[in-house]
Protein backbone atom coordinates (compact mmCIF):
# COMPACT_ATOMS: atom_id res chain seq x y z
CA UNK A 1 0.00 0.00 0.00
CA UNK A 2 1.36 3.41 -1.00
CA UNK A 3 0.24 6.65 0.57
CA UNK A 4 -0.11 9.25 -2.17
CA UNK A 5 1.69 12.59 -2.17
CA UNK A 6 4.53 11.66 0.17
CA UNK A 7 7.03 12.81 -2.48
CA UNK A 8 5.12 14.34 -5.37
CA UNK A 9 2.77 17.24 -4.76
CA UNK A 10 -1.01 17.00 -4.97
CA UNK A 11 -2.02 19.00 -8.03
CA UNK A 12 -4.89 20.98 -6.50
CA UNK A 13 -3.12 21.93 -3.28
CA UNK A 14 0.39 22.15 -4.71
CA UNK A 15 1.80 20.54 -1.57
CA UNK A 16 3.24 17.27 -0.36
CA UNK A 17 1.94 15.75 2.86
CA UNK A 18 5.11 16.40 4.84
CA UNK A 19 5.28 20.07 3.93
CA UNK A 20 1.70 20.73 4.99
CA UNK A 21 2.20 18.63 8.11
CA UNK A 22 5.24 20.51 9.32
CA UNK A 23 3.60 23.89 8.74
CA UNK A 24 0.60 22.78 10.78
CA UNK A 25 2.94 21.62 13.50
CA UNK A 26 4.69 24.98 13.43
CA UNK A 27 1.30 26.69 13.69
CA UNK A 28 0.73 24.84 16.95
CA UNK A 29 4.22 25.81 18.10
CA UNK A 30 3.39 29.44 17.40
CA UNK A 31 0.44 29.09 19.78
CA UNK A 32 2.65 27.45 22.42
CA UNK A 33 5.12 30.32 22.42
CA UNK A 34 2.28 32.83 22.05
CA UNK A 35 0.88 31.62 25.35
CA UNK A 36 4.28 31.97 27.00
CA UNK A 37 4.86 35.46 25.59
CA UNK A 38 1.37 36.44 26.66
CA UNK A 39 2.09 35.15 30.17
CA UNK A 40 5.32 37.10 30.20
CA UNK A 41 3.55 40.33 29.30
CA UNK A 42 0.77 39.76 31.83
CA UNK A 43 3.22 38.98 34.64
CA UNK A 44 5.42 41.92 33.77
CA UNK A 45 2.58 44.41 33.50
CA UNK A 46 1.14 43.18 36.79
CA UNK A 47 4.39 43.36 38.73
CA UNK A 48 5.51 46.26 40.88
CA UNK A 49 9.13 45.97 39.78
CA UNK A 50 10.80 44.17 36.93
CA UNK A 51 14.54 44.01 36.36
CA UNK A 52 16.09 45.13 33.09
CA UNK A 53 17.33 42.01 31.31
CA UNK A 54 20.71 43.54 30.46
CA UNK A 55 21.48 44.06 34.14
CA UNK A 56 20.68 40.48 35.11
CA UNK A 57 21.86 38.41 32.18
CA UNK A 58 24.95 38.37 30.02
CA UNK A 59 24.20 40.24 26.81
CA UNK A 60 27.52 39.30 25.15
CA UNK A 61 26.84 35.59 25.62
CA UNK A 62 23.32 35.92 24.26
CA UNK A 63 24.58 38.05 21.37
CA UNK A 64 27.10 35.35 20.57
CA UNK A 65 24.36 32.73 20.74
CA UNK A 66 22.14 34.77 18.42
CA UNK A 67 24.94 34.87 15.87
CA UNK A 68 25.48 31.13 16.30
CA UNK A 69 21.82 30.33 15.76
CA UNK A 70 21.41 32.60 12.75
CA UNK A 71 24.53 31.07 11.22
CA UNK A 72 23.15 27.59 11.85
CA UNK A 73 20.01 28.62 10.00
CA UNK A 74 22.10 29.62 7.01
CA UNK A 75 24.06 26.35 7.06
CA UNK A 76 20.77 24.48 7.30
CA UNK A 77 19.32 26.15 4.24
CA UNK A 78 22.64 25.63 2.46
CA UNK A 79 22.48 21.92 3.27
CA UNK A 80 19.15 21.80 1.46
CA UNK A 81 20.44 23.89 -1.44
CA UNK A 82 23.44 21.56 -1.80
CA UNK A 83 21.13 18.58 -2.19
CA UNK A 84 19.16 20.53 -4.77
CA UNK A 85 22.45 21.01 -6.64
CA UNK A 86 23.15 17.30 -6.27
CA UNK A 87 26.24 17.82 -4.13
CA UNK A 88 26.02 15.28 -1.32
CA UNK A 89 29.50 16.05 0.04
CA UNK A 90 28.70 19.69 0.59
CA UNK A 91 25.37 18.72 2.14
CA UNK A 92 27.17 16.66 4.76
CA UNK A 93 29.49 19.52 5.60
CA UNK A 94 26.67 22.02 5.97
CA UNK A 95 24.38 19.76 8.00
CA UNK A 96 27.34 18.76 10.18
CA UNK A 97 28.05 22.47 10.74
CA UNK A 98 24.42 23.04 11.71
CA UNK A 99 24.58 20.31 14.33
CA UNK A 100 27.92 21.59 15.62
CA UNK A 101 26.52 25.10 15.98
CA UNK A 102 23.48 23.74 17.84
CA UNK A 103 25.85 22.15 20.34
CA UNK A 104 27.77 25.41 20.67
CA UNK A 105 24.48 27.14 21.48
CA UNK A 106 23.67 24.60 24.17
CA UNK A 107 27.14 24.80 25.70
CA UNK A 108 26.92 28.59 25.98
CA UNK A 109 23.45 28.18 27.45
CA UNK A 110 24.87 25.70 29.96
CA UNK A 111 27.47 28.24 31.12
CA UNK A 112 24.76 30.90 31.46
CA UNK A 113 22.50 28.57 33.45
CA UNK A 114 25.22 27.32 35.76
CA UNK A 115 26.43 30.87 36.43
CA UNK A 116 22.94 31.93 37.53
CA UNK A 117 22.28 28.77 39.50
CA UNK A 118 25.56 29.17 41.39
CA UNK A 119 24.68 32.76 42.14
CA UNK A 120 21.41 31.49 43.65
CA UNK A 121 19.40 32.95 40.82
CA UNK A 122 17.35 29.91 39.92
CA UNK A 123 13.76 29.98 38.72
CA UNK A 124 12.71 30.32 42.39
CA UNK A 125 14.61 33.61 42.73
CA UNK A 126 11.91 35.86 41.32
CA UNK A 127 9.27 35.86 38.59
CA UNK A 128 11.71 37.32 36.08
CA UNK A 129 14.08 34.38 36.49
CA UNK A 130 11.13 32.01 36.59
CA UNK A 131 9.93 33.04 33.17
CA UNK A 132 13.49 33.29 31.84
CA UNK A 133 14.29 29.71 32.79
CA UNK A 134 10.95 28.36 31.62
CA UNK A 135 10.98 29.94 28.17
CA UNK A 136 14.66 29.42 27.42
CA UNK A 137 14.45 25.91 28.84
CA UNK A 138 11.58 25.06 26.53
CA UNK A 139 13.46 26.65 23.64
CA UNK A 140 16.52 24.60 24.61
CA UNK A 141 14.41 21.44 24.42
CA UNK A 142 13.46 22.45 20.90
CA UNK A 143 17.16 22.81 20.06
CA UNK A 144 17.76 19.32 21.44
CA UNK A 145 14.91 18.01 19.31
CA UNK A 146 16.48 19.65 16.28
CA UNK A 147 19.83 18.01 17.05
CA UNK A 148 18.15 14.60 17.23
CA UNK A 149 16.34 15.08 13.91
CA UNK A 150 19.34 16.54 12.10
CA UNK A 151 21.66 13.92 13.60
CA UNK A 152 19.38 11.20 12.28
CA UNK A 153 19.31 12.78 8.83
CA UNK A 154 23.10 13.08 8.78
CA UNK A 155 23.61 9.54 10.07
CA UNK A 156 21.34 6.58 9.39
CA UNK A 157 18.67 8.66 7.64
CA UNK A 158 21.10 9.74 4.92
CA UNK A 159 20.98 6.29 3.32
CA UNK A 160 17.75 7.38 1.67
CA UNK A 161 19.77 9.66 -0.62
CA UNK A 162 20.96 6.60 -2.54
CA UNK A 163 17.47 5.29 -3.24
CA UNK A 164 15.04 8.22 -3.13
CA UNK A 165 16.81 11.50 -3.79
CA UNK A 166 13.75 13.69 -4.02
CA UNK A 167 12.16 12.30 -0.87
CA UNK A 168 15.37 12.81 1.08
CA UNK A 169 15.66 16.40 -0.16
CA UNK A 170 12.08 16.99 1.02
CA UNK A 171 12.99 15.63 4.43
CA UNK A 172 15.88 18.05 4.72
CA UNK A 173 13.58 20.90 3.72
CA UNK A 174 11.08 19.88 6.39
CA UNK A 175 13.76 19.55 9.06
CA UNK A 176 14.98 22.95 7.90
CA UNK A 177 11.55 24.55 8.34
CA UNK A 178 11.52 23.36 11.93
CA UNK A 179 15.06 24.56 12.53
CA UNK A 180 14.40 28.03 11.11
CA UNK A 181 11.37 28.27 13.36
CA UNK A 182 13.53 27.53 16.41
CA UNK A 183 15.86 30.29 15.22
CA UNK A 184 12.90 32.62 14.70
CA UNK A 185 11.70 32.10 18.26
CA UNK A 186 15.14 32.95 19.57
CA UNK A 187 15.18 36.15 17.51
CA UNK A 188 12.22 37.28 19.62
CA UNK A 189 13.47 35.81 22.89
CA UNK A 190 16.79 37.60 22.73
CA UNK A 191 15.53 41.21 22.88
CA UNK A 192 12.55 40.38 25.09
CA UNK A 193 14.48 38.56 27.81
CA UNK A 194 17.96 40.06 27.57
CA UNK A 195 17.59 43.62 26.39
CA UNK A 196 14.28 45.03 27.62
Amino acid sequence: MEIPYTVEVRPDTGLSNGKLGVWLFLASEVMLFAALFSSYILLRVGSTEWPRGAEELSVPMAFFNTVVLITSSVTMVMAWASLKMNDFGKFRTYLGATILLSFVFLVVKYFEYSHHLHAGEGPWHNTYYAIYFTITGLHGLHILGGIVVNGYLLGPGARMWKTEKERFTNRIEIAGLYWHFVDLVWIFLFPVLYLL
Binding site: T71, M78, F188, P191, L195
Partner: protein, 102 residues
Protein backbone atom coordinates in the same frame (compact mmCIF):
# COMPACT_ATOMS: atom_id res chain seq x y z
CA UNK B 1 18.26 17.97 -11.63
CA UNK B 2 18.42 19.99 -14.81
CA UNK B 3 20.76 22.92 -15.34
CA UNK B 4 17.99 25.48 -15.09
CA UNK B 5 16.95 24.34 -11.61
CA UNK B 6 20.55 24.36 -10.46
CA UNK B 7 20.96 27.95 -11.71
CA UNK B 8 17.81 28.83 -9.87
CA UNK B 9 19.25 27.45 -6.66
CA UNK B 10 22.52 29.33 -7.19
CA UNK B 11 20.63 32.60 -7.29
CA UNK B 12 18.81 31.50 -4.13
CA UNK B 13 22.14 30.91 -2.44
CA UNK B 14 23.15 34.49 -3.14
CA UNK B 15 19.91 35.65 -1.49
CA UNK B 16 20.58 33.47 1.54
CA UNK B 17 23.91 35.15 2.16
CA UNK B 18 22.41 38.60 1.72
CA UNK B 19 19.70 37.73 4.23
CA UNK B 20 22.39 36.44 6.56
CA UNK B 21 24.17 39.77 6.32
CA UNK B 22 20.96 41.67 6.99
CA UNK B 23 20.21 39.53 10.04
CA UNK B 24 23.68 40.19 11.47
CA UNK B 25 23.36 43.94 10.96
CA UNK B 26 19.93 43.99 12.57
CA UNK B 27 21.19 41.95 15.52
CA UNK B 28 23.91 44.53 16.09
CA UNK B 29 21.31 47.29 15.76
CA UNK B 30 19.13 45.70 18.46
CA UNK B 31 22.02 45.38 20.86
CA UNK B 32 23.31 48.85 20.02
CA UNK B 33 19.93 50.45 20.62
CA UNK B 34 19.69 48.78 24.02
CA UNK B 35 22.82 50.69 25.14
CA UNK B 36 21.12 54.01 24.39
CA UNK B 37 18.79 53.51 27.39
CA UNK B 38 15.73 54.83 25.62
CA UNK B 39 12.43 55.23 27.50
CA UNK B 40 10.84 51.82 28.09
CA UNK B 41 7.91 52.22 25.68
CA UNK B 42 10.22 53.36 22.90
CA UNK B 43 12.77 50.62 23.60
CA UNK B 44 10.10 47.92 23.50
CA UNK B 45 8.59 49.23 20.27
CA UNK B 46 11.96 49.47 18.55
CA UNK B 47 13.14 46.07 19.72
CA UNK B 48 9.93 44.40 18.60
CA UNK B 49 9.99 46.11 15.21
CA UNK B 50 13.55 44.96 14.58
CA UNK B 51 12.74 41.43 15.81
CA UNK B 52 9.70 41.32 13.54
CA UNK B 53 11.77 42.36 10.53
CA UNK B 54 14.37 39.69 11.34
CA UNK B 55 11.68 37.08 11.90
CA UNK B 56 10.02 37.98 8.61
CA UNK B 57 13.33 37.65 6.77
CA UNK B 58 13.85 34.17 8.21
CA UNK B 59 10.29 33.13 7.36
CA UNK B 60 10.24 34.65 3.87
CA UNK B 61 13.63 33.50 2.63
CA UNK B 62 14.94 30.63 4.74
CA UNK B 63 11.51 29.07 5.11
CA UNK B 64 10.62 29.94 1.50
CA UNK B 65 7.37 31.54 2.55
CA UNK B 66 7.80 34.07 -0.26
CA UNK B 67 7.09 31.37 -2.84
CA UNK B 68 4.76 29.21 -0.79
CA UNK B 69 1.32 27.91 -1.74
CA UNK B 70 -1.93 29.64 -0.77
CA UNK B 71 -2.97 26.86 1.56
CA UNK B 72 0.02 27.48 3.83
CA UNK B 73 -0.90 31.14 3.94
CA UNK B 74 -4.45 30.26 4.98
CA UNK B 75 -3.15 28.16 7.88
CA UNK B 76 -0.77 30.88 8.95
CA UNK B 77 -3.36 33.66 8.71
CA UNK B 78 -5.64 31.61 10.94
CA UNK B 79 -2.78 31.09 13.38
CA UNK B 80 -1.93 34.77 13.40
CA UNK B 81 -5.55 35.63 14.22
CA UNK B 82 -5.53 33.29 17.19
CA UNK B 83 -2.09 34.56 18.13
CA UNK B 84 -3.61 38.03 18.35
CA UNK B 85 -6.47 36.70 20.50
CA UNK B 86 -3.86 35.17 22.78
CA UNK B 87 -2.10 38.52 23.07
CA UNK B 88 -5.42 40.00 24.15
CA UNK B 89 -5.17 38.10 27.43
CA UNK B 90 -2.87 40.61 29.18
CA UNK B 91 -4.70 43.51 27.60
CA UNK B 92 -8.12 42.26 28.67
CA UNK B 93 -6.99 41.65 32.23
CA UNK B 94 -6.09 45.30 32.49
CA UNK B 95 -9.02 46.62 30.48
CA UNK B 96 -10.93 48.10 33.40
CA UNK B 97 -7.82 49.92 34.54
CA UNK B 98 -7.62 51.49 31.11
CA UNK B 99 -11.28 52.22 30.42
CA UNK B 100 -12.48 53.14 33.88
CA UNK B 101 -9.36 54.59 35.35
CA UNK B 102 -8.66 52.33 38.31
Amino acid sequence: MDAHAADDIRSHVKTYFMVFGALMVLTIVTVGVSYLHLPVAMAITLALIVATIKGSLVALYFMHLKHERKLIYYVLVLTVIFFVFMMFVPLLTNLDKITQGY
